[in-house]
């Protein structure tokens, strides 16, 4: 695979209409002086390594957000673990954006072993294509799993799979977790799944 194919897809994606990164990204350009130094140094390391494959969503006190395309999420996660000493994932949340036709999966990554990173949370966000009529597991809504990088995502990714229908390729155990066994409706956390009477 040539690298230029990757970069074009990644670049085009967030620039279409991705709501969360935009205002924050603008802020970083307007007043770069106020950026906290330590957090800036971490995000710079990632930028240095991956160039324009990644996009810095925001750099706030204790929080860094990195947006990355789904082709590179595995590499970036590996670098975050090996190069930056982050060692566990606290939470994996899926957010549905029907207006962009995308589902965002957000990993909140922290570190226990490096005490200078104890306050830090690195937010790694990636996006999968969204299908209007989902067939969980058998449609284009797929992402590579991070379970071989961070063991702690095991149950979280299973939860995202059943709640939003994002299939994680390579996950050893993609079964149902919380919902009843005979659930046959839409994945419930999608925006087009309406609850009773609303």
């Amino acid at each position: 695979m040539s690298s230029d194919v990757k970069t074009t897809t990644v670049d085009s994606k967030p620039e279409v209409k991705s709501p969360p990164p935009k205002p924050a990204a603008k802020k970083t350009e307007e007043k770069p002086v106020e950026l906290p130094a330590f957090e800036k140094s971490i995000s710079d390391k990632i930028i240095e390594k991956f160039g324009d494959k990644v996009e810095v969503g925001f750099v706030k006190e204790d929080r860094i957000r990195i947006n990355v395309g789904k082709e590179d999420v595995h590499n970036v996660a590996e670098f975050i673990r090996d190069g930056l000493n982050y060692d566990h994932v606290e939470s994996v949340s899926g957010v549905d954006y029907p207006q962009d036709n995308e589902i965002e999966v957000v990993y909140h990554i922290g570190s226990y072993s490096d005490s200078s990173l104890a306050r830090q949370i690195l937010v790694l966000a990636t996006r999968a294509q969204r299908e209007t009529n989902p067939i969980p597991g058998n449609d284009a809504t797929k992402l590579p799993t991070l379970r071989d990088v961070f063991y702690s995502v095991e149950f979280h990714e299973r939860e995202v799979f059943e709640m939003l229908g994002v299939f994680f390729e390579g996950h050893p155990d993609n079964r149902r977790l919380l919902l009843p066994e005979d659930w046959a409706d839409l994945p419930p956390l999608r925006k087009d799944f309406a609850i009773k009477g609303r």
């Binding site: 919902l179 009843p180 066994e181 609850i195 009477g197 609303r198």
Partner: protein, 174 residues
């Protein structure tokens, strides 16, 4: 004459009928004794369904001590129990299990629906995974409102159930 009436084929029927007759004859005193026994030894099943179980636990604690009213703490086996206290929300995943538990219990059995969730769905009335009350799953004897009910309320519910048992016909289940 009795020999003609009772043949080996219909002996069972005859004895069953005799039991009925006997019960009818001594229903009042025997029924009272049976009910009295049931009232003071209600064994709840150990099935927790949601957060109301915290207050159910508190009701067994030394301060409220529901045991002095004959409700024994939920440590026993399912086959020896005669009371289900549904402690809150019943989700769609739990409902078949609740029914299964109820079906496996021997007669007579009583049900207390504890908490707003068990009565109508409570806070979760519009959730996609919660049943709007448990009446559709198992028959309920006493409703205990609250979110969660205070232990005192639960104790009152238990005493209401005892009142109810006292007025029940014991014969039905003998």
């Amino acid at each position: 004459m009795l020999k003609d009436l009772v043949t080996p084929e219909n002996a069972n029927v005859f004895i069953g009928k005799l039991g009925d007759i006997l019960e009818k004859a001594i229903d009042k005193p025997l029924g009272y004794a049976i009910n009295w026994g049931r009232i003071w030894s209600l064994w709840p099943v150990h099935i927790e369904t949601a957060c109301c179980s915290v207050e159910f636990g508190a009701a067994s604690s030394p301060r409220y001590d529901v045991e002095r009213f004959g409700i024994i703490e939920a440590f026993g086996s399912l086959r020896q129990c005669d009371l289900v206290v549904v402690q809150g929300t019943i989700t769609r995943k739990m409902a078949p299990r609740l029914r299964l538990v109820y079906d496996q219990m021997p007669e007579p059995k009583y049900v207390i629906a504890m908490g707003a969730c068990a009565i109508t769905g409570g806070l979760y009335f519009d959730s996609y995974n919660v049943l709007p009350g448990i009446d559709g799953v198992i028959p309920v004897d006493v409703y205990v409102p609250g979110c969660p009910p205070r232990p005192e309320t639960l104790i009152q519910g238990c005493m209401l159930l005892q009142e109810k048992i006292k007025r029940m016909k014991a014969r039905k289940f003998v």
